[in-house]
């Protein structure tokens, strides 16, 4: 049901916090995953059970320190589990749906609370901006609504090209895009829950058009960013050139919500080469790039998670060499996903392409 919560004195966050408190108070969920403001002034995801602490909840803070799909997975993959309300952005939910397909999470105990996302900043950028004390998200949402053609240049690269800023398939939706946040917030709730919270039906706002415009602008930005990275990948440079400065620190993999393997093959004894092996390889080409196997690492990771990449860009955030990891994975991921007509995160019923098959497909590949 479409409904509205009223914002008093322009305090949007207080109205949202109040709504979240009610979910705990009414026993709808046992705990909430939501971004919380720390006493030191930054924002971090937290698992909250005490309603008083929800006074620090800041689901609109334009920052994504980590993709919370991993955390939601840890809270739901095994029994016994509590009923969790998860306040998440679209890219986090899509990653979570991916994890469900890999048996690394369960949606049975999770109530998804999808927040419309206007984009996020790199953590240090956010912190510098937040110190100035502005309610950063206000500007962002206004921009997203008003002139989606000119994205905020300071946004993370992943967000500037994110064409899925809203997630429609969630039980609860916080429809910031299209709401006049100074006075009201539009919500979508199951009828039963709305009745329980005493919220009544209201008319839909202009969100759809706003989302469409935003998606169109982001899609255009995406296509030109893809064209740019593809020129590099398919040209002289190649993927080995794009990743020439990679030190194989594995940060990109560690923060990837899709990479869940307990022991990655790259950290396994398979890559514990004998000392003389390196020398043999060096002899083959005259020199061996060190650390070795960086291109193999990226190609293998593309092979393992490219079909499931949701484009959250956490990898780019984590890269000490500032390499365009996320852009490469999204651009190649898009081609892979199109090949298998697969959209990661769309719904949990759609099977992972590599665990299934049809008898009479790609007959030209295997002859």
């Amino acid at each position: 049901m479409e409904t509205i919560i009223t914002v008093e004195n322009g305090n949007t966050l207080a109205a949202l916090q109040d709504f979240l408190k009610q979910l705990l108070e009414h026993g709808i969920v046992d705990a909430l995953i939501t971004p919380l403001r720390t006493p030191s002034g930054t924002v971090t995801p937290a698992l909250v059970t005490n309603t008083d602490l929800l006074n620090a909840a800041d689901p609109l803070a334009p920052v994504l320190p980590g993709n919370c799909a991993t955390l939601a997975g840890k809270l739901s993959a095994r029994e016994p589990r509590a009923r969790i309300g998860a306040v998440m952005r679209s890219c986090e939910i899509r990653a979570l749906v991916g994890l469900v397909k890999m048996q690394q999470a369960s949606l049975d105990s999770i109530t998804l609370i999808a927040v419309d996302c206007a984009g996020t900043y790199h953590v240090p950028v956010f912190q510098r901006m937040a110190q100035k004390g502005d309610a950063l998200w206000q500007e962002l949402y206004k921009n997203a609504v008003g002139q989606p053609g000119q994205p905020d240049e300071a946004l993370r690269a992943a967000c500037k090209i994110c064409e899925q800023p809203v997630y429609e398939n969630a039980a609860i939706k916080i429809k910031c895009l299209g709401s006049n946040l100074d006075s009201e917030i539009h919500l979508q709730l199951p009828d039963e829950l709305a009745a329980q919270l005493g919220l009544s039906q209201s008319a839909e706002n202009g969100r759809q058009t706003i989302v469409e415009n935003l998606v169109a602008a982001r899609t255009a930005a995406r296509d030109s960013a893809f064209a740019e990275i593809r020129t590099r990948l398919e040209g002289e440079e190649g993927i080995e050139g794009v990743f020439a400065a990679c030190i194989r620190c594995h940060n990109c993999m560690t923060v990837c919500p899709i990479c869940y393997c307990k022991v990655c093959v790259f950290k396994s004894p398979v890559f514990d080469h004998e000392p003389m092996q390196f020398v043999e390889w060096a002899k083959q080409k005259g020199a061996l790039r060190l650390p070795s196997d960086t291109t193999l690492f990226h190609l293998t990771r593309l092979n393992h998670m490219g079909l499931s990449c949701v484009g959250c860009g956490m990898c780019t955030e984590a890269c000490p060499a500032e390499l365009p990891v996320g852009m490469v994975f999204r651009a190649i991921g898009q081609r892979l996903q199109a090949t298998f007509e697969y959209a990661p995160g769309r719904n949990k019923e759609e099977q992972l392409p590599l665990i299934t098959f049809k008898a009479d497909e790609w007959t030209e590949v295997g002859e």
């Binding site: 190649g238 080409k285 490219g306 590599l354």
Partner: protein
């Protein structure tokens, strides 16, 4: 222009139950085929981890052949069908990362098809000669 002195090196990952036995048959039947292939035996084409195909390609192998049982004949029911999807994905990644995916071949060759195995090696050796040496053979910075 084709370099006539160039002898491509082909790495073949062959299923034990079909293509490997087919290769064996080609040998015992004294069928002639080019000596350009190095064979690695696996229990099923579905057991070929793409990481080893990639490793061979990046190390400079000129061609990589994966040989499995004909559709419907896999001893583990679906290994070859899954291998086919993996090869499709792998080729898509290689293409988009700036590599030549035509160096990777997937072929169904049964245990009784010794001559088909010999033909395939001939065909692949000729195609790789045409293509020229894998440029990654000389690229140290990968």
């Amino acid at each position: 222009m084709t370099d006539t002195t160039f002898e491509p090196r082909i790495i073949a990952f062959l299923c034990n139950w079909c293509t490997y036995t087919g290769a064996d048959l080609a040998g015992t039947s004294r069928l002639q085929y080019p000596p350009n292939v190095r064979i690695i035996r696996l229990m099923c084409s579905g057991a070929v981890d793409p990481i080893y195909v990639l490793k061979a390609d990046l190390a400079g192998a000129d061609g990589i052949l994966i040989g499995g049982c004909h559709p419907g004949d896999c001893h583990y029911q679906e290994g070859n069908y899954k291998a086919r999807r993996r090869v499709v994905a792998l080729k898509e990644i290689l293409k988009n990362a700036g590599f030549d995916d035509s160096r990777v071949w997937l072929r169904w060759i049964s245990a009784s098809e010794g001559s088909r195995f010999a033909d395939t090696i001939r065909e692949m050796t000729a195609a790789m000669k045409e293509l020229g040496p894998n440029p990654l053979k000389k690229e140290w910075a990968v």
